[in-house]
Amino acid sequence: MLSFYEAAAKNLRRSRFLFLILFLLFFALGSAIGNAYGNAGYGVALALILYAILAATAWFSGSSIVLSIHGAREADPAEHRRLLNVVDEMRIASGLPMPRVYLMESGGMNAFAAGRRPREAAVAVTTGLLDGLNREELQGVIAHEMAHIKSRDTLYYICAAVLVGSIALLADMFLRGTFFGGRRRAGGGSGRGSAAFVLLGLLFALLAPLAAKILQMSISRQREYHADAEAAGFTRNPLGLASALEKIALVGSGIPGRNRGTQHLFIVNPVRRFTEASTALFSTHPPTALRIQRLRAMAGKGGFG
């Protein structure tokens, strides 16, 4: 198993790689469209400006975007004392700084972590999770999220969400013909340009789901097992998380603002149902039953430390 240090270094590398891919993609696109208009330079310049905006948004406010998509609000120190205490306990056990804590209004049970680096991390849980789990189970779930933060999975996940999101955005822009719209000549317009828009739009519309699939594959299910194992190391109590996962599977893991671009962030995939086709090649998470089984096995051996 990778140590936290190695895992974090790997996630940092992979995140940079994603930004590089995105850069190349925008570069190629910009020159292609620019060519259709007869000036590659303008196309490249505009594409790179768009890239810069996207990359900066992802880097500087990726977490807050994800939090707002799912309607998360900050936990109240008086009202959510138990949650805040449990997060504090787990940040002590993991040796991390205290993350910000958020709540999502939902009867479904789910949780996710976000943040570029541990210092500015955030943990969000649904109200359903908070109401349905006892303290030990909550500890297990929060420990799982702290493990993602510590190994910087959260950084890579945010970058991946932005990559998929921006491809979907591009597809949308081209199909509606708003991209480079300001440069269209009044009156006659450009037949060649419009044709290029439609073609590229179709290309991206085809590419978007494919990119989502590739993303899902790249997010190794191994990372979930890893976070489960590390969580058990933090709590010294694998059964807490096992029983939490059981309850989540039973109650359901629905969250506000379902979004395919962020599904890999959650402790249990909110889109896919795990009773069906759960070992499929393209799923972001391992089947919950298998995760529970592995946690139980750890408790049987009682060997960490």
Binding site: R81, R82, N85, E89, I92, G95, R135, Q139, R236
Partner: protein, 182 residues
Amino acid sequence: MGWIPAIVAVVVVAWFVGTYNSLVRLRNQFRNAWHQIDVQLKRRYDLIPNLVEVVKDYMSYEQETLTKVIEARGAAISARGASEQGKAENLLTESLKSLFAVVERYPELKANQNVASLQEELTGTENKISFARQFYNDSVMTYNNRIQSIPANAIASVFDFSPAEYFEGGEESRTVPKADLR
């Protein structure tokens, strides 16, 4: 071939700086972890008088339990030396447990919002103490492993990175922290 010694020298210096810095980082980590324990212990000392204040009016027949908690707190604060303090802290944990058991028997106490929130705070603090100790021991293990294995042990012995001591609790602090199941 004059550049070969130069390359070797650069590699050796880079290794030395990297290893030395990682040892310093690990040493700071376990020292900081020790302070984390103290922070939580202090927090527990601060919370106990509040709890006693709130429950004492209801518990006129349970003065003995309250006195025990107050005495155990005093003993823990004034304890000197790691082993003495460890024992005193365990006694305090025990006395708090029996206080909570008594609270369970008084319905109007259980319904009291102040008591409930103080109980949550104390449970949380108890857990934080054991997790802080656990993290301290984990940090000590990482540090000790590092300074005792080849090749870092060479640097460790020259620059006096001595092995750190584990926190040894009683049976109490070794078991999984069991919070109330609600």
